[in-house]
C-alpha cells in the first residue's frame, strides 16, 4: 500500500511540478524588463532560431496570436510606478514625452468583447498631445477629459503597449516608455 502511495505521489509531483514550473516560467522567462524606469516588460518574440518558446507560449496558450517582433514590439505592465497592482477602481495617469513611433496603441487588459461601449485603447492616430508634444492618458472607469481609457473589466488590470517597428527606430530596450502614476482610488 505504501509503495503504491509513493508511486502515485511521485507521478503527481512530476505532473504538477512540470505544469506549475511551465506556467511560472512562461511569464518570467518569456519577458524581460524594458525601459530604464517603471515596471514595463517586453516580450521576446523574435522569429526563427532566435525564437523564445516561453514568450510564444505566453500568447498561444491563451489562444492569442503572437505579434511578429520584426513588425511590433509588445510591452506589458501590471504595476504602477510605486509597484502596486493596477486596479479598475483606481484612476491612473500615464505620461510620456518621447514616445515616437509610426504607430502605437496603448490599451488596458483584460478585454471584454461583450462590452462594446468601452474605449479600452488609445492609438497614435487618435491621441491628443500637449503643446510640448507630451502625452497624458487617464485610465479610469468614469469619463475623464482628454485622452481616456476605460477598463472593460473589473479587478486587476494590465497595460499593453504595442509599438510598430521600423528600421530607423531605436532598439526596443531603449524606447522611452510611459510612466504610470496612481491619481486616486
Amino acid at each position: 500500500m505504501a509503495r503504491v502511495s509513493v508511486k502515485i505521489f511521485s507521478v503527481l509531483c512530476g505532473v504538477v511540478g512540470g505544469w506549475a514550473s511551465a506556467l511560472s516560467l512562461i511569464d518570467s522567462v518569456g519577458s524581460k524588463p524594458a525601459g530604464a524606469a517603471g515596471n514595463w516588460r517586453m516580450w521576446d518574440l523574435a522569429s526563427g532560431t532566435a525564437s523564445n518558446p516561453y514568450a510564444r507560449a505566453h500568447f498561444l496558450i491563451e489562444g492569442r496570436v503572437p505579434p511578429a517582433q520584426s513588425l511590433f514590439q509588445v510591452y506589458t505592465n501590471p504595476l504602477d510606478d510605486e509597484g502596486s497592482t493596477l486596479r479598475s477602481g483606481c484612476v491612473y495617469r500615464i505620461a510620456a514625452n518621447d514616445l515616437e513611433s509610426r504607430w502605437w496603441s496603448l490599451s488596458v487588459g483584460p478585454s471584454n468583447s461583450q462590452d462594446r461601449d468601452s474605449s479600452a485603447a488609445v492609438t497614435s492616430d487618435q491621441v491628443v498631445r500637449g503643446t510640448d508634444n507630451s502625452l497624458n492618458v487617464a485610465v479610469a472607469r468614469s469619463p475623464v477629459a482628454g485622452n481616456w481609457i476605460r477598463p472593460e473589466t473589473e479587478g486587476t488590470l494590465t497595460l499593453q503597449l504595442v509599438v510598430s517597428n521600423t528600421d530607423e527606430l531605436e532598439a526596443a530596450e531603449d524606447v522611452k516608455l510611459p510612466s504610470v502614476q496612481r491619481v486616486s482610488c
Binding site: 509503495r3 509513493v6 508511486k7 505521489f9 511521485s10 507521478v11 509531483c13 512530476g14 505532473v15 511540478g17 512540470g18 505544469w19 514550473s21 511551465a22 506556467l23 516560467l25 512562461i26 518574440l45 522569429s47 526563427g48 525564437s51 518558446p53 516561453y54 510564444r56 507560449a57 500568447f59 498561444l60 496558450i61 489562444g63 492569442r64 496570436v65 503572437p66 505579434p67 511578429a68 517582433q69 520584426s70 513588425l71 511590433f72 509588445v74 509610426r102 504607430w103 496603441s105 490599451s107 487588459g109 483584460p110 478585454s111 471584454n112 468583447s113 479600452a120 485603447a121 488609445v122 492609438t123 492616430d125 487618435q126 499593453q160 504595442v162 510598430s164 521600423t166
Partner: protein
C-alpha cells in the same frame, strides 16, 4: 534507493510535462482556438476577422483595427494570396499553424498596395537535389514564401482612425483573395 528511483521518475516526468507545456501544448491550444473561431470558413478563403473574434486573439489592438485572415492549406498545392490593401499603414504576417512567424512585410517595405504572394511547401532535402535550374519561379510569380508546415495562416493588419473607418477599410481589404495557385506549364 527505492525512493531515489521514484524521485528521479518524478523529476523526469516534470521535465516532460514542462517541455510539453511550453513547446507543444500552446500550439495545439492555439490551433484549436483558431479552428473554433473560423469553423465555418473553408481553407484557402480570405475573410475579415469579426470584431468579437478579433478582441479574443488580438486583444492588444484597438477594436477599430482591421484584421484579414487567410487560413492556407498547401496539401493540394501552392496557394496564391492576391492582396488589395488600402493606402496607408498595413502589415502582412504569415504564420505556421502553431503560431510561428514565417514571413512579414509592411507597406514601407513593399512600396505597393496590390501584390501577389505565393505560399508553397518547402522542398524536402531530396527535392532540393532533384530541382532543375529553371524551377525558380520567384521572379515570374511575385513573392514566394516556403513553409515546412502545410497549414497555417496569413494575417493582414490595417489600423483605423476610429470604429467608423473600420467599415471602409474592411471593404477594401475584403477584395483580397486567397486560393489555390493556377498551375504553371
Amino acid at each position: 534507493m527505492r525512493n531515489l528511483y521514484w524521485v528521479i521518475t518524478a523529476a523526469v516526468l516534470a521535465i516532460i510535462v514542462h517541455i510539453s507545456m511550453v513547446l507543444f501544448a500552446p500550439g495545439f491550444l492555439f490551433e484549436r482556438n483558431l479552428n473554433r473561431l473560423a469553423s465555418d470558413v473553408p481553407d484557402n478563403t480570405f475573410f475579415i476577422l469579426p470584431a468579437a473574434a478579433q478582441s479574443r486573439i488580438f486583444p492588444e489592438y484597438p477594436s477599430g483595427t482591421v484584421f484579414g485572415v487567410c487560413r492556407y492549406n498547401l496539401t493540394s498545392g501552392p496557394v496564391t494570396l492576391d492582396a488589395n490593401l488600402p493606402d496607408g499603414i498595413w502589415t502582412l504576417t504569415v504564420y505556421s499553424r502553431f503560431g510561428r512567424t514565417l514571413y512579414t512585410v509592411t507597406d514601407e517595405q513593399s512600396g505597393v498596395d496590390k501584390f501577389s504572394l505565393q505560399l508553397a511547401l518547402a522542398p524536402s532535402v531530396i527535392d532540393i537535389f532533384s530541382l532543375k535550374e529553371d524551377e525558380n519561379e520567384v521572379e515570374t510569380s511575385g513573392w514566394k514564401v516556403l513553409s515546412k508546415d502545410e497549414r497555417g495562416f496569413a494575417v493582414f493588419w490595417v489600423p483605423a482612425l476610429d470604429k467608423a473607418m473600420r467599415e471602409s477599410l474592411s471593404e477594401t481589404l475584403s477584395t483580397t483573395t486567397c486560393g489555390k495557385a493556377a498551375a504553371t506549364s
